[in-house]
Symmetry: none
C-alpha cells in the first residue's frame, strides 16, 4: 500500500473510532455502561452494530479506550507547566480555577469514570496506574519544588495533591452529578475561593485571607 493511502486510511479509521467513542461517552454517561447495549452505541453513532466491532474488538475494550482517550483533566500537564515558576500564592488559585473549569466541562467523562471505573476494582487499578498517579505526581512535583524554595510547608506532597484534587472532585460529584446544583447551589466563585483558601491558608483564624 502506498504510504499516502495508508496514512489517509489511518486518519479515516481514527475519525471513525473517535465518532464511536464520543457516542459511547454520551450514552454511558446517560445510561451507564452495563445498561447500554452495543446496539445503542451504534445507533447513537449513526452506524451499524457490526461496524462497532470493526473498530473495537469488544464492548469492554471500547470502555477502556474511552477512559484512555477522555482524561478527566487532559490539560493538567500544561496547567502545571504554566504555573511552574509561579509561587503557590498565585499559582494555586490559577490551578484550582483551571482544574475546576475543565472538570465542569467534562462532567460526562466524570460520570462514566465514577460509574464504571472508580467502582470496578480492576478497571480502577488500571486507571490509578496510568492516569491518576501520573497526574498526582505532576502536582506533587510542583509542591515539592516550592517546599524546597520555602514557600510551602514541608509535608507529604502526594497526600497534599490528593487533598487538593479531592476537594474539587467532590464538589464536582456533589454539584454536578448528584443534583447538588439544584438542591443547594454553590457558585463557581465560592467553590474556587474556598478550595484555594483552605488549601493555602487553612480555616483556622489568624491565617491570611478570608475564606470564600
Amino acid at each position: 500500500m502506498p504510504r499516502v493511502a495508508a496514512a489517509r486510511h489511518d486518519e479515516y479509521a481514527e475519525a471513525r473510532r473517535d465518532q464511536i467513542l464520543q457516542a459511547a461517552l454520551r450514552l454511558f454517561s446517560r445510561k451507564g455502561f452495563a445498561e447500554s447495549t452495543v446496539d445503542e452505541v451504534a445507533a447513537e453513532a449513526g452506524l451499524g452494530k457490526a461496524t462497532i466491532y470493526l473498530y473495537f474488538p469488544s464492548k469492554e475494550i471500547l470502555l477502556r479506550k474511552l477512559v484512555d482517550r477522555f482524561r478527566l483533566v487532559p490539560d493538567l500537564a500544561e496547567m502545571v507547566e504554566a504555573i511552574r515558576n509561579q509561587p503557590p500564592a498565585s499559582g494555586i488559585p490559577a490551578l484550582v480555577e483551571g482544574i475546576w473549569r475543565q472538570l465542569k466541562e467534562r462532567k460526562e467523562v466524570a460520570h462514566v469514570l465514577v460509574r464504571e471505573v472508580f467502582s470496578n476494582p480492576e478497571r480502577a487499578r488500571l486507571y490509578t496506574e496510568q492516569i491518576r498517579l501520573p497526574g498526582r505526581h505532576l502536582l506533587a512535583a510542583y509542591f515539592e519544588a516550592w517546599m524546597k524554595r520555602g514557600k510551602l510547608r514541608r509535608g507529604n506532597a502526594e497526600a497534599m495533591a490528593q487533598c487538593l484534587f479531592g476537594m474539587l472532585w467532590y464538589f464536582l460529584q456533589s454539584q454536578e452529578l448528584m443534583g447538588g446544583k439544584d438542591l443547594a447551589p454553590l457558585s463557581d466563585q465560592t467553590i474556587c475561593s474556598t478550595v484555594t483558601g483552605i488549601f493555602l491558608n487553612g480555616a483556622a483564624a489568624g491565617n491570611q485571607r478570608t475564606l470564600s
Copy 2:
C-alpha cells in the same frame, strides 16, 4: 395468627433479610451490582437462589433496600456532638480521625454507593436530600459556631464542610476502592494529619504546623 407467633415470624424474616443484605453488600462491593448475579448473592448468603426472591421481589429492589439500610457515616451526628464544645484545633483532628475510621470500616458501603447511587441521577438526588445535605449541615453548624467565637475564619461554612469531607472521601476512593493502597500506599496517620493540617492551617509556609 397469634400475636407472639407473628412477632417471632417477623423477627425471623427480618434476620433473613439482613443476612441477604449483608451478603449482597459484600458481593456488590467486590464485583459491582450489574456484574453480580442473583445466584451469586444466594451463594454468598448460603441460601438457594429462589430464597432471595422470598424476601426481595427483584434484584433492583434488593439494591434499593441495601442503600436504605447502610449509611456511609452513621455516627456523624454523635461525632459532631462529641466535639461541639471543643475548639477546632482539637475538635477537627478528632473529627477527621473519627470520620476516616468509620469510612474505612465501611468501604464496602462506599463502594456500592459510588457505583449505584452517586452515579444514578435519580438515586443521587434522593441521597443528597436525605443524607448528604443533612450531614453537611451538621458540620457547617459546628464551623459557624466557632466562626462566631473567632476560632475559624469567616467563610461559606457549607462549602468548607464539603471540602473537609471531600478530602477524606477522595482518600477513601483512591486508597481503598481504586487500588491506591497497593500502588502508592499512604498511612492513616499521613492521611489524617495532612487533611487536618490543610484544613486548619493550609499548605502555605508561615502557617503553624508542619504537614503530616
Copy 3:
C-alpha cells in the same frame, strides 16, 4: 385403628379433597390450569400450600381427579331415563332443555374441560372412553328405540346424538365461554327452540314448526 375412627377419618379426608377440588375448579375455570399456581389453589381453598400435597400427589393428578369428579352432564342418564317412554316430539324438547340447563350450571366444568382435556390428546382420549362415548350411547339408544317405533327417521344414531349434543355444546362455548353472551346475546328460549326445531324438523320450509 377402630373401625369407627377410620370411617370418620375417611369422611374427613374426603371432605378436604372435595374442598380442594371445588377450589381448583373455580380457579382453573377462571385462569386456566397452567396459569394457576398451587399456591393459588391453596389460597382459594383456604389452606396452606403443603396441605394440597397431603391430598393430591401432584398438580397434574389433581387435574385428573377434578375431571373424574365433575362430569359435564352428570344427570344425563336420569334425563334419558325420564323420557325413555316419551316420543321424540315431546322427549327431545325436554331433553334439550334439561341438558342446556345443566350445561349452563356447569360452565366452570366446561371451561376446564375445553381447556385442559379436549385439547390434550392423552387426556381427551381418556375422557372419550370413560365419559363421552358412554353418554353418546345413552342418547343413541333412545334414538334407536324410536327409530324402531317409526317416530324417527332411520340413520346413524351415534352421529345423530353427536349432532344434538354438538349444537348445545357449541352454544355453551360461544355464549358462556367466549363472550357471546355480551356481544350477541341469544336467550335460552331461542337456543332451546332452535336446537329442538332443527333436530326434529330441520330448517327446510314445509316442515312442521317455525324455528325458535
Copy 4:
C-alpha cells in the same frame, strides 16, 4: 434504504415470520402453548432461539399473530358466495361438505384455537368479535335470503347458523381432536349427510330424506 432493497427485506422478513408461525402451529397443536417452550419453537423452525425474538417480541404475541393468521375456515366467505344463488336443498350440502373439508384440513389450527383461544376469556372475546361473529353473519345472511324466498322456515338465522357450525365443530373436536376417530370412527360421508339431513329436514319421521 433504497426502495427495492426495502421491499426485498420486507419479503424476507415476512417469509421468516411465516416459517416461524408454521412451526409454532405444528408444535402448539401437538403439545399445547403453555407446554411448549420458545426453544422448541425455534428447533421446530430450524432456527436459533433468539431468532424467534427477532420476529416476535414475546411468546404471547407469537400466539396472537398465529391466531390472526390462521383462520379456521378461511374460505367461508367464498363458499357462501358460491352458493348464494342456490337454494338450501343443494346449497347446504355443498356448504357442509366444504366447511367440513376445510375444518379437517385445519385441525391443527382448531387444536390451537380450542386450547388457547376458546378457553381464554380475553382472547376468546377478541376472536368472537373479529372472526366468529362475522363468519356467523355470512351464514345467517344466506339463511335470511332464503327465508324471504320461502325456502327456509322463519327463525333466528344467527342461532341457526350457530347450530349448523356447532354440529360440524363438535364432530371435528370429537373425531379429530379427542381420539374419536380411533375409538368410534364415523366416515366423512356419515358426518356430512347426518349434519345436512338434520339441518334441512330434522330427525323426525315424516320428513323427506333418510338420515345418513
